[in-house]
């Protein structure tokens, strides 16, 4: 991950490797080799591909999830309904997923980088600050949700209400008005922003630790020579420090994409305030719960989320290999 192969061996295909090929392995080696490939493949297929294909299959059916003999094929009906009857829910959810992704890249990432940069200066009490900023990372986002709901965002006596409310109650999580409206029923709502702030409280600490580790490992002589050459603070960061952090950037990008697409717990535990739903919430609400559910429609939402993920996976894979080939 962090090191770039000096031999520039292409990972995809081409030149035969040095040494003996697999055919030259002894019988015992071959058994081990076979098991090491077969066992993970078996579990991967069972736990990843079977459910994925089952979801795609169910997305073309109407089923209440109770008895298998009640499954009926409905073709594209579930997708058609999602894009007509349930369009408000769906487009708002897809937008929220994208907003979350962009926001995580901009807000917590830059803030975490700033914190790391400052802590890297060996400030007095730096360890304490480091611990303070890192502590939220050990909490699950569900717990973060409960804490912010009761301590920070409580309408009557939350900390945020006391600080910014001017003596009035503030409806942080219930205010579904759009801050940026794209249409009457599509936009970025104020309560979603409130949730983004809570998410970044945790996420920034995570980013900070990653960058801090990266900065600590930067060769001190690089900075010294930058200082001797008369770089100012910004130049030293931009042209000396930042380029050496490239491997960290890749890790941060991957983590951020994953966090944005799997976002679920904090919104779910807050009872999904209006206009804060994400695709995973729509999937869950249709599949699980008391009424036997709508397996067909839930699966269709899952397939749409899968396609969105697939886009990022393809982007990541192509990007990653391009960087490896440098």
């Amino acid at each position: 991950m962090a090191t770039i192969s000096p031999t520039k061996t292409p990972l995809k295909k081409g030149k035969p490797r040095r040494g003996k090929g697999p055919m030259a392995l002894s019988g015992r080696d071959r058994t081990v080799f076979f098991l090491m490939v077969a066992v993970p493949t078996f579990f991967h297929v069972l736990l990843v591909w079977v459910p994925t294909l089952a979801s795609i299959f169910f997305s073309f059916t109407d089923w209440n999830g109770i008895r298998f003999d009640s499954i009926s094929f409905v073709g594209l009906l579930n997708y058609e309904q999602i894009f007509t009857v349930f369009e408000r829910d769906f487009f708002q959810a897809a937008l929220n997923n994208l907003v979350l992704l962009v926001f995580l890249f901009v807000g917590p990432t830059l803030f975490g980088m700033l914190l790391a940069y400052l802590l890297d200066k060996n400030l007095k009490g730096g360890r304490i600050y480091q611990s303070v900023f890192y502590t939220p990372v050990v909490l699950s986002l569900a717990v973060v949700g409960f804490m912010w709901q009761s301590v920070i965002y409580s309408t009557e006596n939350g900390l945020a209400t006391e600080l910014f409310g001017g003596g009035e109650g503030v409806n942080w999580l219930g205010n579904q008005d759009y801050l940026i409206a794209f249409s009457d029923n599509l936009g970025i709502s104020k309560n979603f922003i409130a949730i983004l702030v809570a998410i970044s409280w945790r996420h920034a600490g995570y980013i900070m630790v990653l960058y801090l580790a990266g900065m600590k490992s930067v060769d001190q002589s690089l900075r010294e020579s930058a200082a001797l050459d008369g770089c100012n603070e910004w130049q030293a960061f931009r042209h000396v420090l930042f380029p050496t952090l490239k491997p960290i950037n890749v890790v941060v990008a991957v983590i951020t994409v994953i966090e944005a697409l799997r976002a679920f717990d904090i919104i779910y535990v807050l009872n999904t305030p209006r206009r804060t739903q994400v695709l995973s919430i729509l999937t869950t609400n249709n599949l699980l719960g008391e009424g036997g559910g709508n397996v067909g429609r839930g699966s269709a939402y899952a397939v749409l989320l899968f396609l969105l993920c697939l886009g990022f996976v393809i982007w990541y894979v192509t990007n990653h290999y391009r960087e490896s080939e440098l």
Binding site: V85, G174, N271, G292
Partner: protein, 451 residues
Amino acid sequence: MSELSLPRSPSPSKAGFHLPRRTMLKGAAGAAGVAAFPGLLAACGDSDDATTDAGGTAFEIGNASGDLTIGSNYSNELPQAGLAAAAAAIPNADVTPVINEVDHNTFQENISTYLQNPDDIVPWFAGYRMQFFAEQGLLGDITDVWDAGLNDELSSGFKTASTGLDGKQYFVPWTYYAWGVYYRPSLWADNGWEVPNTVDDLTALATDMDSVGITPFAFANDGFWPAMGTFDQLNFRINGYQFHVDLMAGRESWTDDRVKEVFATWETLLPTHQADPNGRTWEEAAAAVVNKEAAMMTIGTFIGSQFPEDEIEDLDFFPFPEINPDYGTEVVEAPIDGWMMAADPANVDAAKEMLYHFGTGTAQDAYLAEDPSVVAPSGSVNTSVWSPLQNKVFETVQNAKFVTQFLDRDTSPDFASGVAGPRIADFLADPSSIDSVLEDMQSQAEVLLGE
């Protein structure tokens, strides 16, 4: 400390809080109150006598033996103790109840999966939600248990709530509470306020409350179920029971002018409610009533769980005031919890005998002795030990011509939690958006309720 807020209205079997036992003097007054319902009292046969008449049915009391598994979501302290006491009180000592307890919300979320492989008897809700599973063939017919004596033990309204769409009984009612307008009588007495009988009285009273700086209605909607309570009250007060039930079942349209009238009335009442309800939990709103910052709240009896134990006697309620004189206050909302039998129980005799037992006053008295926050439906329960609040709930429900269960129990759960709740929240956030909100609700109702 309250529990985490949840996306559904509380079950009677969930809350659980202490109410003071009434004194002898109050008991006498309460008994007089009950005597005003002779039909009910006349229906209270002695259960042992009743069973002897039941010759010819497959089910007879006292034949069962062996282990009986009871599924339980009575996971909170008081309901848990109550269920254990009630099950142990079964007269037939040969039946050994085995209670398999699951956390209340886990049970609720996984009910469909659970019913594939259930215990012999299973806790659930009366009405629509029971009928849904009965239709799927997941429940056992217990009409013979009713014929063996529960018909005498329980009034016809409870029987209707226990009957499937095929006319057979699948359910034994067990506990319930009532929705209404809850308030602190001491605050009202101090200010000389009187219980309003019509919505005009209510509006006038609200103006008076505002003038002394007290918010008339505490109001919350976190989880999107609390405001359903107000919607239900307005809808059956304005349009009556039948329209409400048909609307819930998808037989009437949400774009109907009668529905629009409900929301128009609601809009005129919104200034008397706490603003911005969508982000407030019902516990926070209830705290405003407890602290006398708000005068009243449209909520269920479970609001008592928010009162300090020494102040709970200062809690009373009245039915939501009349709006349309055609319907008066004939409907009351009272969610009923009870018991059902699995389609294929391991010990069918014991299951039926336990269900019969659960329908009698013996079992329900044993339950209420541990958890007095609710009321029991059997005609032979001992109401003389109940608190005034319990008796009031009991009387209100007995007096009602129709009983509804609550929006999230009277319609399919995916429509209630996925559509009705969020759209009502949209209305509360922006009342002027109501036409577009209702169109959206109707198109989704057609998909979800038509399936």
